[in-house]
């Protein structure tokens, strides 16, 4: 195949940059779409995921219990003050309580392990309640 597009070298370079930007832009748009779809899906999980319901107990005792769990299981990745280390900053999370609980239980592929075997419903709610205090 010979010259397909009759472009000057400079125009060819510009076309290449536009192509690269379009590819990365499409990837970004696709990623955002997947994130939004995932967040939406987390609000309408069928059984048995319903047991990861949002915490209804935001008492000081529940938050204190959640903090203990956090320091034991989460702090080595997210930092003792939850501002992030290997894992991300957990302050000001703009997601639902159910999304947080689901992430704790299911983990994130290749990023964060599942804690479903360590935490029951009560522990998950306590930890979620504590994370909610991180404003």
């Amino acid at each position: 195949m010979t010259a397909v597009l009759p472009l000057t070298p400079r125009a060819a370079l510009i076309a290449a940059m536009v192509g690269a930007a379009a590819a990365l832009g499409s990837a970004y748009a696709g990623a955002r779409g997947l994130q939004l779809a995932d967040a939406r899906r987390s609000h309408a999980l069928p059984s048995p995921d319903r047991w990861a319901d949002p915490p209804d107990d935001l008492s000081a005792a529940a938050q204190a219990g959640g903090r203990k769990l956090y320091l034991r299981y989460c702090a080595h990745c997210h930092g003792a003050d939850a501002t992030g280390d290997e894992g991300p900053d957990l302050h000001d999370e703009e997601v639902s309580d159910r999304y947080i609980a689901r992430t704790i239980l299911k983990g994130i592929p290749h990023q964060m392990p599942s804690f479903a075997k360590k935490f029951g419903a009560a522990e998950t709610r306590e930890l979620t309640a504590y994370l909610r205090t991180l404003d």
Partner: protein, 144 residues
């Protein structure tokens, strides 16, 4: 597999899809270099055409490879730890591969030796980036 547990399928799909663009882009580099080195020989034209087509196929193959990776990470473009390192090389590689395919198509057979040398140099950079992306991808797969 359920809709809320996408990892098993997309892990396998991503593993299956990434090898095509890696191999094709590397092959395009070898063919392009051979076409550049042997530009006084009769085979030069065939080598350049083969390089062009392998580059186009590599760029086309990179799209499903990237898409499957995004499905696997549920749309997270960076992540943390080894995944971040993987993505640190993936995104420049992806942009370069698509850009190089457009550049090569636009230049075509009329390109000067200087343009071809520049293209070859950027292609070499892309191959190095792809190699590192593949290395960190392998680290991710070897984790329990």
């Amino acid at each position: 597999m359920t809709t809320t547990d996408p990892e098993p399928f997309w892990t396998h799909a991503h593993g299956a899809l990434v090898h095509f663009p890696i191999a094709l882009v590397c092959a395009a580099g070898v063919l392009e270099a051979a076409g550049f080195a042997l530009r006084s020989r009769d085979c030069m034209r065939s080598l350049r055409e083969a390089a062009h087509w392998t580059m186009l196929l590599g760029a086309a193959g990179s799209v499903p490879a990237v898409a499957s990776g995004l499905f696997l990470t549920r749309g997270r473009m960076w992540g943390h730890g080894a995944l971040r390192l993987h993505h640190l090389f993936v995104w420049p590689s992806f942009g370069l591969v698509v850009g190089l395919a457009v550049w090569r198509t636009a230049l075509g057979a009329r390109a000067s030796d200087g343009n071809r040398a520049g293209y070859l140099a950027v292609l070499a950079v892309a191959i190095v980036l792809i190699t590192f992306a593949g290395y960190w991808g392998g680290v991710l797969l070897s984790r329990p």
